[in-house]
C-alpha cells in the first residue's frame, strides 16, 4: 500500500543535512506519515519559516541545538490551523493536536534531522515528560551490573520498523493470477509424428544461438592475494681461498756470534779494554770482598733451624727411654744374643739370633744337649713381649744373619761350623704381620707343621731351606754375612757385572779362617751334575714337611762362588776377618734415584723370583761394570783394619788366580773388631769399633783414621751409626753402657752415657719406626733384647747437620794430611839434624894451643881497637901523647 517513499525523504534529508543552515526548509509534498526510523510518540514535522516566526521557534534562533525544546500551546496551534487551514504546517497533525490532552505540546527542534524532518512534535505527554526530564540513567546502570541477573520478562513487541523490511522483501501478489486455456482437436493426439530436416539458416530466428562470450564480470584481475610471510634471518656462508703470501719463520737455527782469535787478541791489547778493566776492578773487588765478609741475606732466625718446641721438655727428653724388653724363659735361658736385625718391611718385627753363652770346651762337653735343642733365631713383635712370633731353626749357632733386601722372606745366616744357611719364611710371614693373633690357633691352623712339633707350643718353627756343603764352606765360624746389593753381581773372578734380575742373588761371608767367600743363591752351571750324583749316592734327604723348597737346588751342595783370601802385606800369613763392609753401588741406569731405599722399592719384583729357576749366567754375557768399587774394608781378629780388593788377580808365575795383597792395613784397635759400618749419609765414611776404642775412616784417605777415640776403660763391644743424624753414633760397652757420641758436640767424650743392662752389650741396631719414633735395639749377653726409644734430640737432625759433619770430616782429613806431611818433614829434619850431629862428632878435636893462639890474637886486636877509640876521643893517657911529640 505504501510505496517506497522513505528513501526519497532520506535522500532529501541527506541533502538537507548538507545544507545545514537557516535556509528555509523546503516543504516536502509527501504525506507525512510517520515513516520508519522514529518512535511512535513523536511526529516529525516541517515548519515553514513563517510558522517558525509565528510560534517563536525559529531554527537556530529561538531553538537551538542546545535547547531544542519548545512548548507550544495547543490553543495556538488550533488557531493557526483554523486560520491557515491547509497551508498550516500543523494540518497533518490536526487530529493529534486536537486529541492532545494537555495544554502544551512539546516541539523539539531536530537539528540533526534524526527523524527525517527539522522538527518533531511529541505526541504524548509521557514522552514529553520523558524528553524534558530525562531520567538519570548513569548511576542506575552501574549498579545494575551487581544485580542478580533476572530472566527478561516477555514484553510486548515494539515495532522498530523491522516489519516494514519484511513486508518489502516478502513476495506478495500484485495482481490476480492470469489463467490461460489451450486446446487441440482430439484426433490429432497420438498420430505418428513426422520428423523432417530443417535448416536453421533458412528461416530467420530458426535457431537461437547461445554463444559463449567472455563475460567481463569474470575476468577479474586479482589485485590482492593473501599470503603468509615469515621473517627469517638471512644466512649465508661462503668461503674463499686466498694465497697466503705472508711469510713467517718456521724455525730458526742460529749460533752465537763470536770473535775470531785474532780479533780477541787485538781487543785484549787495545787500550780501551785496559782502561775499562782498571776502572771496573775496584768495584768488583769491593763487592767480592763484601760477600766474603758477611752474608747479608742470611736469615739468622730461620737458620737456627730448631724451633721452639725443642726447648719445652727437660731432662726426660734426652734419655734413651726403655720402650720394651723382650726375653723368653724358654729360649733365652743361658743364651746370648749374637746378632739383631730389624725386619726391613714389617714394622715392629725384630729377629735375634740366640747362641750359647759357653766356652768352646763346654760346647764339646755339652754337644749332645745342643742337638736336642737346636739353636734358634727368634722373631719378636712389639705387641707381644712374652712369646716370640716365629722361630727359625738353625743347624748350629748363628753369629750373623741378614734379611735379603729385595725379598725379606729370604734370610741368610752364617753358622758356627762354617755353614751358610738359608731360610724362606714366606709361608709364615703372616704370623709376623700380626694379622693372625698368636694365641689359640690350633683349631684354625690348616698348615700342618712337623709332627715333632709340640702342639701346645704355638710358636711356629721354620726349618732352614738350605745349607752349604759342609766341606766347601768356612772352616771357622762365620762372623759376618752380607747381601750384595742387587745392582750388580760378581763373577767367578770377582769382576762385577750387571745384575739382570733386580733382586739380590749373591751374598758375602767372612770368617776368621782368613777367607771371605761369595755365595750365589741361584742354580750354578756346575750344579745339576753334582746334584744328580749326590742323589744317586745318598738316600733322598729327608725333607721335613713344611719346608719350602725354594732353595732345594742348593741344599747340601752349595759351594761358594768365589773365595778371597787376605794375605798379609808384609809378612807371610793371613788376616782373619771378623767383619767387613763394602761400598754400595747405585746403578747408573736408574737415573734420578737418590736413595737406596727408593731404588729398592721400585725394583722389588712383585713376584719373588723362583730362585731354583734362576741360573748363574755366564760371565761373558753380562756387561761388566767398571765403576763398582771392589775394594772393601775388613776388620780382623787382631784389631787391624784391612783395605783390600776382592777381585782375583792373575799370578804371573803360575797363571792361577789368586787374591791380591791388601792395599792398606791399619792397626788401630787392640782386640777384636766387632763393627765395620759405613755411615748411612756418607758412603765413604766408615766406623770401626774394636778393642778399647773406635775409629772413623774415610775411604780414599789412606794415611790413617780421620778420628780415633781415646781409649776407654771398658771394651767397646758394639757400635752403629744413627740412621737419621749424620753426626751421631752409638757405642756399646762391656759393662752394659750405651754411649751416644755426637761429633759436632764433643769429640773427646760421649755426649751421653746410659746404662741399659749389667752385662756386655752384644749388638746395637737402630730402626726408624715412624717419623716420631726411632728405636734402638740393644741386645745383651744375658739373652735379653731391649728396645729403647731414641729421644727426639738424638734423632732429629739440625738443618745443616750433614753439611757441618762433612766440613768437620774434611777438616779432619786436612789435618790428617797436614799431619802426615809434617811428619815426613819432621822425619827429614830429624835425619838432617842427626846427620849434622854425626858430622860434628866426626870432626878432629882442636888443640888447646890453637885455642890460646886464637885468643891472643883476638886480645891484641881488641887492644888496638881500644887505643884507637880512646885516641879519637882524646882520652888516651898522657904518657902516650908525650911519646908522640
Amino acid at each position: 500500500m505504501s510505496s517506497k517513499t522513505p528513501k526519497s525523504t532520506v535522500s532529501s534529508a541527506g541533502s538537507k543535512r548538507k545544507g545545514k543552515d537557516k535556509k528555509s526548509v523546503t516543504p516536502v509534498h509527501s504525506e507525512s506519515v510517520p515513516g520508519p526510523g522514529h518512535p511512535d510518540d513523536i511526529f516529525p514535522l516541517v515548519l515553514t519559516s513563517a510558522t517558525q516566526e509565528l510560534f517563536g521557534c525559529r531554527a537556530d534562533e529561538d531553538v537551538t541545538g542546545e535547547s531544542p525544546y519548545k512548548l507550544l500551546r495547543k490553543d495556538d496551534i488550533v488557531q493557526d490551523m483554523k486560520r491557515r487551514a491547509a497551508v498550516s504546517d500543523f494540518s497533518t497533525v490536526k487530529q493529534i493536536v486536537l486529541d492532545y490532552p494537555e495544554e502544551e505540546i512539546l516541539l523539539v527542534f531536530d537539528r540533526d534531522f534524526t527523524y527525517g524532518q527539522g522538527f518533531y512534535l511529541v505526541l504524548t505527554p509521557e514522552a514529553k515528560e520523558k524528553i524534558l526530564n530525562p531520567p538519570l540513567r548513569s548511576e542506575t546502570e552501574t549498579s545494575g551490573e551487581c544485580e542478580v541477573y533476572k530472566t527478561p520478562e516477555p514484553k510486548l513487541w515494539i515495532s522498530l520498523g523491522s516489519e516494514q523490511d519484511i513486508e518489502e522483501e516478502s513476495v506478495k501478489e500484485s495482481r490476480e493470477k492470469l489463467k490461460y486455456k489451450l486446446s487441440r482437436v482430439r484426433r490429432k493426439f497420438g498420430t505418428l509424428v513426422c520428423f523432417s530436416d530443417w535448416n536453421t539458416a533458412d528461416a530467420k530466428d530458426g535457431d537461437v544461438e547461445c554463444a559463449s562470450y567472455s563475460d567481463s564480470r569474470f575476468s577479474i584481475k586479482q589485485m590482492e592475494r593473501d599470503c603468509g610471510i615469515q621473517a627469517i634471518p638471512k644466512l649465508q656462508s661462503s668461503s674463499a681461498q686466498t694465497q697466503w703470501k705472508n711469510q713467517k719463520n718456521m724455525c730458526t737455527q742460529y749460533e752465537p756470534r763470536g770473535f775470531s782469535e785474532e780479533e780477541k787478541e787485538s781487543l785484549v791489547q787495545s787500550g780501551s779494554l785496559k782502561n775499562f778493566i782498571n776502572s771496573v776492578t775496584p768495584r768488583v773487588l769491593q763487592s767480592l770482598q763484601q760477600n766474603e765478609i758477611m752474608d747479608v741475606f742470611l736469615d739468622n732466625w730461620t737458620a737456627l733451624g730448631i724451633g721452639a718446641e725443642e726447648f719445652d721438655t727437660g731432662e726426660r727428653a734426652n734419655n734413651l727411654m726403655v720402650y720394651q724388653a723382650f726375653t723368653d724363659m724358654q729360649y733365652s735361658k743361658d743364651k746370648t744374643i749374637s746378632s739383631i736385625n730389624w725386619h726391613p718391611t714389617i714394622s715392629g718385627v725384630i729377629a735375634v739370633a740366640m747362641t750359647e753363652n759357653v766356652s768352646l770346651e763346654q760346647r764339646f762337653n755339652q754337644s749332645t744337649k745342643f742337638l736336642l735343642n737346636p739353636p734358634l733365631i727368634l722373631f719378636w713383635c712389639f705387641h707381644d713381649a712374652c712369646t716370640p712370633q716365629l722361630l727359625l731353626e738353625c743347624p748350629d749357632d748363628v753369629f750373623a744373619f741378614e734379611f735379603c733386601p729385595t725379598d725379606p722372606n729370604i734370610i741368610i745366616g752364617g753358622c758356627m761350623n762354617g755353614q751358610v744357611v738359608l731360610w724362606d719364611i714366606s709361608t709364615h710371614v703372616k704370623y709376623l704381620q700380626g694379622s693372625m693373633p698368636r694365641v689359640r690357633k690350633e683349631t684354625s691352623n690348616s698348615d700342618a707343621f712337623d709332627f715333632e712339633e709340640n702342639r701346645e707350643n704355638e710358636t711356629p718353627l721354620v726349618r732352614y731351606c738350605a745349607v752349604s756343603a759342609v766341606d766347601s764352606g768356612h772352616k771357622a765360624q762365620i762372623t759376618d754375612v752380607q747381601w750384595l746389593p742387587q745392582t750388580f753381581e760378581v763373577t767367578k773372578t770377582g769382576t762385577p757385572v750387571e745384575n739382570k734380575n733386580k733382586t739380590c742373588v749373591q751374598a758375602i761371608t767372612c770368617s776368621p779362617d782368613c777367607s771371605v767367600m761369595f755365595w750365589d743363591i741361584r742354580v750354578s752351571v756346575n750344579q745339576p751334575a753334582t746334584k744328580l750324583k749326590q742323589n744317586v749316592d745318598q738316600k733322598q734327604p729327608v725333607k721335613s714337611y713344611g719346608v719350602p723348597d725354594t732353595f732345594s737346588h742348593l741344599d747340601r751342595s752349595w759351594k761358594p762362588l768365589l773365595k778371597v783370601s787376605l794375605p798379609m802385606i808384609d809378612v807371610n800369613g793371613e788376616y782373619s776377618p771378623l767383619k767387613f763392609s763394602l761400598q754400595d753401588y747405585i746403578c747408573d741406569s736408574h737415573t734420578g734415584s737418590n736413595t737406596d731405599a727408593a731404588h729398592l722399592h721400585e725394583d722389588r719384583a712383585e713376584v719373588t723370583p723362583d730362585y731354583s729357576k734362576l741360573q748363574v749366567p755366564s760371565a761373558k754375557t753380562l756387561k761388566s761394570l767398571d765403576d763398582v768399587n771392589t775394594k772393601f774394608f775388613v776388620g780382623t781378629e787382631d784389631g787391624e783394619i784391612v783395605y783390600t780388593d776382592w777381585r782375583l788377580e792373575k799370578d804371573n808365575d803360575s797363571g792361577r788366580l789368586h787374591s791380591a795383597k791388601p792395599l792398606h792395613c791399619f792397626n788401630v784397635h787392640d782386640w777384636w773388631v766387632n763393627t765395620v759400618q759405613r755411615s748411612p749419609f756418607f758412603k765413604d765414611v766408615i766406623l770401626t769399633v774394636g778393642g778399647w776404642n773406635f775409629a772413623i775412616w774415610k775411604e780414599g784417605v789412606m794415611d790413617g783414621t780421620i778420628f780415633q777415640s781415646p781409649p776407654s776403660t771398658q771394651v767397646c763391644t758394639a757400635g752403629c751409626w744413627s740412621p737419621s743424624r749424620p753426626a751421631v753414633f752409638f757405642i756399646g760397652k762391656a759393662n752394659g753402657n750405651i754411649e751416644v757420641w755426637d761429633l759436632l758436640e764433643k769429640t773427646h767424650d760421649p755426649s751421653q752415657i746410659h746404662n741399659i743392662t749389667s752385662t756386655k752389650i752384644t749388638c746395637i741396631k737402630p730402626w726408624i719406626f715412624s717419623s716420631k719414633q726411632h728405636f734402638l735395639a740393644v741386645s745383651d749377653d744375658k739373652g735379653m733384647l731391649h728396645i729403647l726409644e731414641i729421644p727426639r734430640m738424638l734423632y732429629r737432625p739440625s738443618s745443616d747437620e750433614k753439611l757441618r759433619v762433612r766440613i768437620y770430616l774434611e777438616t779432619e782429613v786436612d789435618r790428617l794430611v797436614y799431619f802426615t806431611k809434617r811428619r815426613d818433614v819432621w822425619a827429614e829434619e830429624k835425619k838432617d839434624t842427626e846427620a849434622m850431629e854425626l858430622k860434628k862428632k866426626s870432626e878432629p878435636m882442636k888443640s888447646l894451643d890453637y885455642f890460646n893462639e886464637e885468643e891472643q890474637k883476638e886480645y891484641q886486636e881488641y887492644q888496638e881497637l881500644e887505643t884507637s877509640i880512646l885516641k879519637s876521643m882524646g882520652l888516651l893517657p898522657a904518657t902516650d901523647n908525650m911519646k908522640e911529640f
Binding site: P256, R257, G258, F259, K264, L267, V268, Q269, S272, L273, K274, F276, I277, N278, S279, V280, T281, R283, V284, L285, S287, L288, Q289, N291, E292, M294, D295, F297, L298
Partner: protein, 96 residues
C-alpha cells in the same frame, strides 16, 4: 795484555769466584774463564738484562747511569760491572 791478565788473576783469586767473562757492548764475549757453552749462555742472557736495566735507569733519570748490577740467587751471585764499551761479569759462590 799483561795488565789485563794480572787484574783478572787478582779477581779470580778471590774466594768463591767461579768465572769471569769480559763482553763487548754488542754481547760478544771477548775473554772468559769458563767453558764456551756456559759463556755463551751467560752472555746472551745477561746482555739483555744489562741493557734493560740501563735503559730503565736512563728513562727514570736521563742523567743517571748504571754503575753496578748484582744478582743474588740461592746458589751464587752474579756481578756485572758495565762500562761504555764493555762489561765484566763475575760469578761468585759465597761460601757461607
Amino acid at each position: 795484555m799483561a795488565e789485563v791478565e794480572e787484574t783478572l788473576k787478582r779477581i779470580q783469586s778471590q774466594k768463591g769466584v767461579q768465572g769471569i767473562i769480559i763482553v763487548n757492548s754488542e754481547g760478544i764475549p771477548i775473554k772468559t774463564t769458563m767453558d764456551n757453552s756456559s759463556t755463551v749462555q751467560y752472555v746472551g742472557l745477561i746482555h739483555q738484562l744489562v741493557m734493560k736495566a740501563r735503559s730503565t735507569l736512563r728513562d727514570l733519570d736521563p742523567q743517571n747511569d748504571l754503575t753496578f748490577l748484582r744478582i743474588r740467587s740461592k746458589k751464587n751471585e752474579i756481578m756485572i760491572a758495565p762500562d761504555k764499551d764493555y762489561f765484566l761479569i763475575v760469578i761468585q759462590n759465597p761460601s757461607d
